[in-house]
Subunit: 207 residues, 2 copies
Amino acid sequence: MKDISKATIDRLPLYLRTLRMAQDEGLDVISSEELGRRLEITPEQIRKDLASFGQFGKKGVGYYVNELKKSISSILGLDNHWNMAIVGIGHLGSALANHHSFISLGFNLVALFDHDPAIVGKTINHVKVEDVADLEKRVKELNIHIGIITVPGQFAQDVADRLVKAKIRGIWNFAPIRMKVPDTMHIVNEDLSIGLSGLSYHISRKF
Amino acid sequence: MKDISKATIDRLPLYLRTLRMAQDEGLDVISSEELGRRLEITPEQIRKDLASFGQFGKKGVGYYVNELKKSISSILGLDNHWNMAIVGIGHLGSALANHHSFISLGFNLVALFDHDPAIVGKTINHVKVEDVADLEKRVKELNIHIGIITVPGQFAQDVADRLVKAKIRGIWNFAPIRMKVPDTMHIVNEDLSIGLSGLSYHISRKF
DNA sequence: TAGATTGTTAATCGATTAACAATC
DNA sequence: TAGATTGTTAATCGATTAACAATC
């Protein structure tokens, strides 16, 4: 399979979510036209995206909702049911720990870490907060695949280094810095200030 | 000025943040080379991005950190000091209410809304949670520019409709749906499942 | 069958990279 | 001045859109 663009990968979760909603509404079959209408994406774009992974539709009919849902889940690797840990149980870390949509995507929240003794020992969403000193040890014991970094910026690089050393598979970073990690490490930066700044840009040009 | 690409706008907040860090380190001047090194963006890209808004650098020297910082702030419209309100004070809404980086970007948090009587009346980060029934009235009274939607998906469209009717300027949406709003309304969807799903995609292909 | 809709190829559009003259 | 670095034009690369044959 040739390299798939990031833009395509980014749209797959949207397709998946829309298929779920369609299924909840009782639809068995959906066309690229209808998917596009719901997401404000052109049908051509959707067909192109899907076609880069195989032939999922039936000409003259459309896509079978349940089948396509399963296919996209599998393409995204969601059926691996990755084990996740959150490092930094402040406001954002706690909010993510309580966020059910990750669970419904198939992820498991298996550990929480903080260094504040006032927070260590608390239970959030049925998971106990552990001392971050045990991070490397617990990554191995619990077979943690994904580390979510929600510590303040100045501590983020250190946490990332430790996760890399503990052979985590991927990092989802909410700290406002671009961390240095080996090229082989997958890291996604979730940068909330980008969206908000972009909104500011657009509304200030409007009037 | 001709239309600037979204990719360029998305990089400006990164430049801004890096300039701040450089300034904290005592740097007065920075080159596109050095900015690029810190952000893992090519210097050509950075010069191109900046050049689409004017000439901010000095040939043979680089960019004056403080000057460029102010210019980018102004381009992004951050010196408007927009008033923001959060609708939906669950885990995520509370976390955002406590998030100081928005304040440091120049935004003001002026109101919080929820419909749960158990939450209305609480104070978060010095702001009192009000009844969402008063939303439209308060948007006008407090001159709220940006509405942040952190309600569950099934209520998001209704909240958006009401914000639009109350003549809000922009919407920052965390609910996992693509809402229908007038073309003139600026809306940014902050879709956490995209980043996480993309990470899953990449790590499942790795081995 | 006739109508609908996919999958794919070709055309267009847009963004990034390379190159280099201008100039501090 | 010589060296460094910007701003800009041209070349390349990649993604989206358009068109349509294939086929259910």
